[in-house]
Amino acid sequence: MTPTIVATVLIGGILTGCVYALMALGLSVIFGVIRVVNFAHGEMMAVAMYAAVFLFAAFGLDPLHALPLVAAGLFAFGYALQRRLVEPFVRRPEHEQFILLLAVGVILTNGALILFGPEARGIMTDYAFDSYAVGDIIIDKTKTIAAIAAIIAAAGLLGFFRFARTGKAIRACADNLIGAEVIGLDVKRLYTLTFAVGTACVGVAGTLLAMIIEVTPALGPELTLLAFVIVIVGGLGSMPGAIFGGVLIGVSEALAGLLIVPSMKSMLSFALLIVILVLRPEGLLGRRPS
């Protein structure tokens, strides 16, 4: 094993990790504020991927240009979903939220099967097979683009929560719900917005992911599980944590693939998840829940 190989694998792991991070961010935003665990997260991501695939196939729209469209579409979808379905469940027990979102997931998965068929669908841009060579180190072009876009999107999201009035109001709800209600914030509306923003984030991540892998109807549940691992490792509800968790899982899977049997690499992720849940259930960058 030469240093070149290690470097190639590490860089690949970091880039994949950035996309993972963005994928987990939406889950984390929703849980951090509304305290609802979105078990249909991966299925929503698959919806975003199908949207990107459709826009490319029908109008030749490059995924990077389709990004705002898909994000807006998923924002609207998330808004409606929270308004119509999830809202009454916010104060219901977790297992009922689970069944609700499970049902949503089943509907989305089979809807995709009916509309798009069971074949794997992807986007073949003219740069889909390109890579940069720095010396002997090879860097994947689409992953680099996706990672940069992911970082920009994540920064935008962080900025929204830090500086925007609505963003700050949402954070107030997350920090102290009763306090937020006392000072007259419209919690219901803010929750709806949060869910929509979280879903839009899933839209961005899905579009970027569609540049890298093919989408099938069965992909959704697998992505949900992956997103959970990342979010818990980083800290459920913590945005920087989700990003850190994504990169950490990306890198550790890459290294595990290199050093041990590749087919066992996600076992390592689950082991990591168990260790973190036990030693630091708030996640590496999360705050201990009060």
Binding site: I107, G111, M267
Partner: protein, 336 residues
């Protein structure tokens, strides 16, 4: 205790329960093989749902990884049978022990380190997935190429070796499902059951009352795991082949919990009612789409999703409490 159980039941309950049991006992003589195989699967889910209900419905610990115990039970009994000729009637105890041990490890880690709610649920998923990948590399039990039990086309029934006709398997699972219901109900009536409910409703208050919360939560996990493992043993000998993804996969864990939640979490009949509802819904939709001449693959599951969504939205506490109230049955145990 038995008297306790009897007095808790109203006459109406007793009549209804007896009728149901009689119907199910008579089923193999009345219904065809197809319906029998459907009821058999329903009873399996009623059984494992009851085991899950004990842990979640009564003791309030949300596990989303119960496939782990099914799988450990299935593989333990099957491996003992194939490699050492140990009949499942004995292997059963080893299976329960292995699953109970796994439950104890998870419970210890979770409760010692204060993991609860969603975090506990995710811990259980992590363990189940970890084990799935582990078994995918475990050559002694066939890894991903599957673990096959010898199949003998017996016409006579051999309970010790769990070899026989579908009717034998049917009565085994019927006994298990009915036994689990009685067992959970009896257990819930003991001091232990009251402690569990106290912990479920308010853990801090329970602790303040001097209940050893850690100990009783551990007991809930261990008992539930061992019970679930029995379901796994049944599955292994009914199907005669095991694949890690089919057994440990997260979709399996999800299947286990849907019935008790839909039926009525924390009620004794909830898991049974839920299992029947889900089973009938699944088969009914298959037949309905066929009858309607719909050929599009996926429509059935789509409708299933919509119905599931409507049930959880409109009947949040589960169907059994609603039915029971309408028909005048007593519901002793209900959540909130």
């Amino acid at each position: 205790m038995i008297r306790n159980l009897a007095t808790e039941l109203s006459t109406r309950d007793a009549v209804a329960a007896t009728t149901l049991v009689l119907l199910l006992v008579a089923a193999p003589f009345v219904v065809g093989d197809y319906l029998l195989s459907v009821i058999l699967i329903i009873l399996y889910f009623a059984y494992v749902g009851q085991a899950w209900n004990l842990m979640m419905g009564i003791a309030g610990q949300l596990s989303l990884g119960h496939a782990l115990y099914v799988g450990l039970g299935a593989y333990t009994a099957a491996a003992l049978f194939v490699h050492f000729d140990v009949p499942p009637a004995i292997g059963l105890f080893a299976a329960m022990a292995v699953a109970a041990l796994a439950g104890a490890v998870i419970g210890f880690l979770a409760f010692r380190f204060g993991i609860s709610g969603v975090y506990f649920a995710l811990l259980t998923i992590a363990f189940a997935e970890f084990t799935r990948i582990l078994f995918s590399h475990f050559d002694w039990v066939g890894a991903t190429s599957g673990f096959f039990l010898p199949v003998e086309n017996r016409t006579s029934s051999d309970l010790v070796n769990l070899r026989g006709t579908s009717v034998m398997f049917y009565y085994v699972i019927l006994t298990l499902a009915a036994g689990a219901l009685v067992f959970v109900r009896l257990l819930a009536g003991t001091r232990l059951g009251y402690y569990w409910r106290a912990i479920r409703e308010d853990q801090i208050a329970a602790q303040a009352l001097g209940i050893n919360v850690f100990r009783y939560k551990m007991l809930a996990v261990v008992i539930s795991a061992a019970m679930t493992a029995v379901g796994g043993v049944f599955l292994a000998f009914y199907y005669n082949n095991l694949f890690p993804t089919d057994v440990f996969g997260i979709h399996r864990s999800i299947e286990i919990i849907v019935a008790p939640i839909i039926g009525g979490l924390g009620t004794y009949f909830g898991p049974v009612v839920g299992a029947f509802l889900i089973g009938i819904l699944g088969e009914g939709l298959t037949n309905a789409t066929e009858a309607a001449g719909i050929q599009t693959a996926g429509i059935k599951q789509l409708v299933y999703g919509v119905i599931l969504l409507l049930i959880i939205k409109l009947v949040p506490g589960g169907l059994w409490p609603l039915i029971a109230r309408r028909l005048g049955f007593s519901i002793k145990e209900r959540r909130k």
